[in-house]
Symmetry: C2
Amino acid sequence: MNWEANVRKVVPYTPGEQPFLRDMIKLNTNECPYPPSERVQRVLREFDASDLRLYPDPGALGLTEALAAHFGLKREQVFVGVGSDEVLALSFLAFFSGGKPVLFPDITYSFYEVWAQLYGIPYRCPALDEGFRLKKEDYLTENGGIVFPNPNAPTGLVESLETVEEIVAGNPDSVVIVDEAYADFCGISAMGLVDRYENLLVVQTFSKSRALAGLRIGFAAGSPKLIRYLNDVKFSFNSYTMNRLTIACGKACLEDEDWFLKTVGKIVSTRERMKAELKSLGFSFPDSGANFLFVRHESVPARQLFSALREAGIFVRHFDRPRIDDYLRISVGTDEEADRLTAFLNGYLKKS
Amino acid sequence: MNWEANVRKVVPYTPGEQPFLRDMIKLNTNECPYPPSERVQRVLREFDASDLRLYPDPGALGLTEALAAHFGLKREQVFVGVGSDEVLALSFLAFFSGGKPVLFPDITYSFYEVWAQLYGIPYRCPALDEGFRLKKEDYLTENGGIVFPNPNAPTGLVESLETVEEIVAGNPDSVVIVDEAYADFCGISAMGLVDRYENLLVVQTFSKSRALAGLRIGFAAGSPKLIRYLNDVKFSFNSYTMNRLTIACGKACLEDEDWFLKTVGKIVSTRERMKAELKSLGFSFPDSGANFLFVRHESVPARQLFSALREAGIFVRHFDRPRIDDYLRISVGTDEEADRLTAFLNGYLKKS
């Protein structure tokens, strides 16, 4: 029995745990602490289940057109997928096939490395500077493609639109993917550049700022040519990935701008409050423009805090990786969750 | 601007068209002509949309466990994906990495070739015999993996369980994938063999016999080791592919065995009626065990019939490929749809 010789061996990505405990505070996977727009509930109540017997539109047209309208783009400039992870996974397959190393930061979304390994794409990881800032000159050398998040994860740091544009403009021979999973929490986005740069792909998600992690919606905007190539690869993988319910719910959610502005506003305001409170408790952190903080305490090691928080039913994320193993990533929750977090830390740190 | 040098160029799969016309008869993509179980509608009515703010369980546990219970398997033997296309696409990536050619029939589901090309997997396509039967000796030669549908598509022909088992048993050094998208319509399945053969993966779908093409649910059953390898690749591609609504609806649908038996029974009975009627109109066809017929007329070319049917608002499928370009694939619809089809053909053929 040697069938295993034909098997692709990979070290898979480890997603944040999904615990189910009463009264827990779940600040470990950067979900939205508020329910989605009520229009989503209405779609579910009114959806005719008999429509589900038919395949969905393979291009998820209803949602693609709504996104194009929302961002002032043409339909041919938008691509949707099952979470931004699917959009990114297919983009790696589509755009990073040249054989030269793809570039992404040493500290970043850990899935980039997993995709590169899955597809056998060579890659290089220029180190962020001491303050976790991207050094743009690292991305102006020869490469087979570039990808980075802005704001970066798990640091939360935002690079200016000027820096992003310099990297895109300086790489006419590569596709540059800007992963904007958290962009709605800082208001800086390269979306406005896609009409000017044929090689720029901007990826966003409904999982964070739109409170629909459980529905799996991601999307990309780029030049019609880039989107066509991405669709060719997508249609070679799975013609129908976005289901009928998701298309309908996603469209309804996108159209509720009032809900969106109010929800993002609340999260940003809690984040700024958490910054002040954690600072007064002896934590330091890069200045986050995302819906999480990446914090280190002046005296108590991250690992110890992680365990203590966990025992108290407060779930945060710790990455056992070089340079960041003394940090915790804490999602921004509701004000009540922030209160419970700081109350616990206040008590715990006094005892330590 | 030479970024296109890094782009993967592929010839994508062409899905059957999804027309939206009033009064059309859609017999082109093998969907179920009846609505899904009423339990699905109930799930939608009762689902709390606020749950959608949280990521789903990455292993789609609720649905995986329901499938394991349904088929008398362990949870570790079941894998779910976004339609059987995702399950198959990930299986190609996971199991066909050995470098030796993968085998599948020359006339079969055309996506197999697309996946092989997408991933750069070498492949060979042994010819079916004149009656479109698989010659099992073709699959007892050296190979890097085997995949075939049973019943085959687009012929509808069913190979016996003995033939399937001989191929599985004769290939201990390869993973053998049996694609059973249509197995519920013939009652022959290799599901009962997965406990005995570590190298056998059986793939099924909710898109045909369970009337949920619009929800995108496929699954695979195999040895725990095979499923573990498949999960490793899946978690390296996208951790969360199956959304919360789909998990809940899929589980509810699976549990309604009465609906399932009744629905499959109606489709099989209409299929047998269609066989008799089409035969009397001068059509011949392999004896289908699926929810479609693969028919050729004794005097009128398929292309001509395809256009005439289309003009009459009756959509069927024609494949412009060697050996089968004089056939039409016609999905089994309701009895009323079958009546309208034969009434039209009867009139048209009299005029021809």
